[in-house]
């Protein structure tokens, strides 16, 4: 028999608890990506001479495979006497990788702010910090929320890479089940269905969010 | 025997959802006749041309072109929606010039003018080029034939568009506000080409225009549209000289005031 329902139901609880690890990795990784990305984008504007360095850094991170970055962080920290567990090292790598993407999104958001907003802030003698916090960021963020959402989904779909350093997330768990029972069909397919379901739901959410934002800006 | 009209709108209606844009339109255009359509914004002028070009479907009625239904065909004595082959056969008689030119940006003026004659009419390249050269000459752009649209002024682009439409040898030409997107000083050169076309070619022309002066001097008949209906029509001298309808008077007054 190709598909065994009883087996599928048997492994479901194990996979479900592993899914929680995947989701944790996603949320922590994205929190890191979103905040670090914002920092990069703001620093680039606030401290102009960093622009070039940040560009090169972002290009470097985006041009090399996440898997290699995960390995690198996992193995390089011990060289400096810092031992990170696999989950921490992996999530850190994912967070940094996506921070590079997010910083570009923020940058586009800032670029869309009309120059007059900066000039008005100068005219009102607002400090750079206040200008960012109260004038620029509140206007720049809402339009880019859908783009950030897309990266959240993309990041989520890359969490299976953590299995390469044996983090017990969804994919690693499925692989272990497979190698122990010699049945890969059910665990792998269930993992695929889980990702598919989550992606479809988030795509729908992002679309309705976009609709909401469009209506808000059209008022 | 009365001659078959070139185009006949027979009780044609067009709706977008709840909005009725054209309401039971009846309009006949004779062979060779030059008809101008004027009227306030949103009155359905563009829609009339777009329906005739089959860029819009119609909800009710029949459009006849030289006695043949445009988007219908007869089967067992009844009119049924036409298939694409029939539509393309009838559509071949009609050409259109757009307000925004719509030239193909990846092709030179010459290539724009020979593309459809070669692919659609199956003409030989040499023949198509010879005719395109003639037409580009007629619109006064022989020396620009190897220029891309982005290298041409608006007026020049619109003249290429006219040559391109003519290259398909249509019997009916539709012009939708073809000078509205142009800087004022470029309007004249395009109108001059249209005049020339009217003189030298045996074309039936239907044009939507805001150039009242041109409509008055050029057309055989002017139709004033209001809210999806022909409110008043007649020879330009009458319609402009002594409009009978109050709406027409108001519109002309407003337009002349602004102009």
């Amino acid at each position: 028999m190709i598909w065994d329902w009883a087996f599928a139901f048997e492994i479901l609880p194990v996979l479900a608890s592993a899914a929680i690890v995947s989701i944790e990795a996603t949320l922590i990784g994205f929190a890191l990506a979103a905040s670090l990305g914002l920092v990069l984008a703001v620093v680039r504007i606030a401290v102009p001479w960093t622009g070039w360095t940040i560009s090169v850094l972002v290009e470097l991170i985006r041009s090399t495979p996440l898997l290699i970055q995960i390995f690198f962080l996992y193995f390089v920290f011990p060289k400096f006497g810092v031992v990170l567990d696999a989950f921490t090292a992996g999530v850190l790598a994912i967070g940094i990788h996506y921070a590079a993407y997010c910083s570009e999104v923020y940058r586009a958001g800032f670029d869309n702010i009309h120059r007059g907003q900066w000039e008005a802030s100068v005219a009102l003698n607002l400090s750079a910090w206040t200008t960012f916090r109260d004038i620029i960021i509140p206007q720049a963020i809402p339009p880019i929320v859908p783009a950030l959402g897309n990266y959240l989904v993309a990041l989520f779909k890359e969490t299976p890479l953590l299995s390469a350093i044996a983090v017990l997330e969804l994919m690693q768990t499925a692989k272990i089940i497979g190698s122990e029972t010699f049945r890969y069909t059910e665990p792998m397919t269930l993992v695929g269905l889980f990702f598919l379901a989550m992606s479809l739901v988030s795509a729908a959410l992002i679309r309705s969010l976009e609709g909401l934002l469009n209506r808000r800006t059209m008022r | 025997m009365t001659e078959q009209p070139m185009v006949r709108f027979d009780n044609v209606s067009k709706r977008y959802g709840a909005l009725t844009v054209l309401d039971g339109l009846n309009l006949e255009i004779a062979r060779g006749e030059k008809v101008s359509i004027i009227g306030p914004s949103g009155s359905g002028k563009t829609t009339v041309l777009r329906m005739l070009m089959t860029l819009e479907t119609i909800n009710d009625g029949v459009i006849w072109v030289e006695g043949e239904p445009l988007t219908h065909m007869e089967r067992n004595g009844k009119l049924v929606p036409a298939d694409l082959a029939h539509i393309r056969k009838i559509r071949a008689k009609i050409g259109m010039v757009f307000q925004s030119f719509n030239l193909f940006p990846h092709m030179t003026a010459m290539q724009n003018c020979i593309e459809a004659p070669i692919t659609v009419l199956g003409m030989k390249r040499a023949d198509a080029e010879a005719r395109a050269a003639e037409l580009l000459d007629m619109v006064g752009l022989s020396e620009k034939k190897d220029h891309y649209p982005s290298q041409l002024s608006g007026g020049q682009q619109q003249r290429v568009a006219i040559a391109r439409a003519c290259a398909m040898r249509p019997k009916i030409m539709l012009f939708d506000e073809v000078t509205s997107a142009l800087d004022p000083e470029l309007v004249g050169e395009v109108l001059e080409v249209i005049r020339k076309l009217g003189r030298e070619h045996d074309l039936t022309m239907l044009m939507v225009t805001h150039q009242m002066g041109f409509a008055k001097e050029f057309s055989d008949r002017v139709c004033f549209f209001h809210a999806g209906k022909i409110c008043e029509q007649g020879p330009p001298s009458e319609l402009f000289g002594a409009p009978k309808n109050e709406r027409t008077r108001q519109f002309l007054h407003a337009v002349l005031e602004a102009g």
């Binding site: 470097l60 290699i68 390995f71 779909k157 792998m188 | -």
Partner: protein, 242 residues
């Protein structure tokens, strides 16, 4: 980033790789890594070709195909976009044999990556076709062209230009995803890195070289696509400044 900066970065990356390769502690790794890089490049090229074919076919099927084809294409796109590349790779590698279909790991790699990126590519193709101004369709209709004539002669040549930058990004994504094939026993660049690292624990030299090699490959793709874009848009924007 401007094309000059990119070329400069590529030059720097290559020079640094070359300089490191002369150092005793780095030298030993070079032959193995280069071997891996060749496999990486092979998979990336074949995967990209498959992705282009699938992207165009799926887009056309979704936009103009008859209902069953449209449905099939939509299912393909949703599944391959909705699950992750590694899941697809493992599924083809571990599950397909249980259905009696055992494919060579190399073939699995090309298939999984090509199908995955092709699904995203179909959205790019679709978006580019839809981005062609409506007036272009209308003018082609007014000239009585048939739908295939319009697509081939008017719409696709214009859409092509709009497609180049997003396809460039997809090729980069595909190139980076090739690292995943190291997890299904293929000895690509990532695999070699991991293997050497386990044997020697010389993490820093190995990964520095590997990261630079991936960077160089990505930059070649980016620069190539920029040049292609420049060439292709020439016809569209020729003499815009004139």
């Amino acid at each position: 980033m401007g094309i000059r900066t990119l070329v400069a970065m590529l030059a720097v990356a290559l020079v640094v790789i070359g300089a490191l390769a002369t150092q005793e502690s780095y030298k030993v790794f070079m032959p193995g890594l280069l071997q891996g890089a060749v496999l990486t490049i092979e998979i990336a090229i074949l995967g990209s070709l498959l992705a282009i074919v699938m992207g165009v076919l799926a887009a056309l099927a979704r936009m103009y195909g008859p209902a069953p084809l449209r449905w099939l294409a939509t299912v393909y796109v949703e599944i391959f976009r909705g699950t992750s590349a590694l899941v697809q790779l493992f599924w083809l590698f571990f599950v397909l044999p249980q259905f009696g279909v055992t494919l060579d790991a190399f073939l699995v790699a090309v298939l999984a990556l090509g199908l995955n990126v092709g699904a995203y590519g179909s959205e790019v193709v679709r978006g580019a076709i839809q981005s062609v101004a409506r007036g272009q369709w209308e003018a082609s209709t007014a000239l009585n062209m048939s739908r295939p004539q319009m697509l081939r002669r008017i719409i696709l040549p214009q859409a092509f230009v709009a497609m180049i930058p997003p396809w460039g990004n997809l090729f980069i994504e595909l190139l980076k995803s090739t690292a995943l094939v190291s997890l299904i026993t293929l000895s690509d660049l990532a695999f070699k890195a991991q293997q050497m690292n386990q044997n020697t624990f010389k993490t820093i030299p190995i990964f520095t070289l590997v990261l630079l090699m991936y960077l160089a490959m990505s930059l070649v793709v980016t620069i190539g696509m920029r040049l292609l874009e420049r060439r292709a848009s020439l016809g569209l924007a020729r003499g815009k400044a004139a």
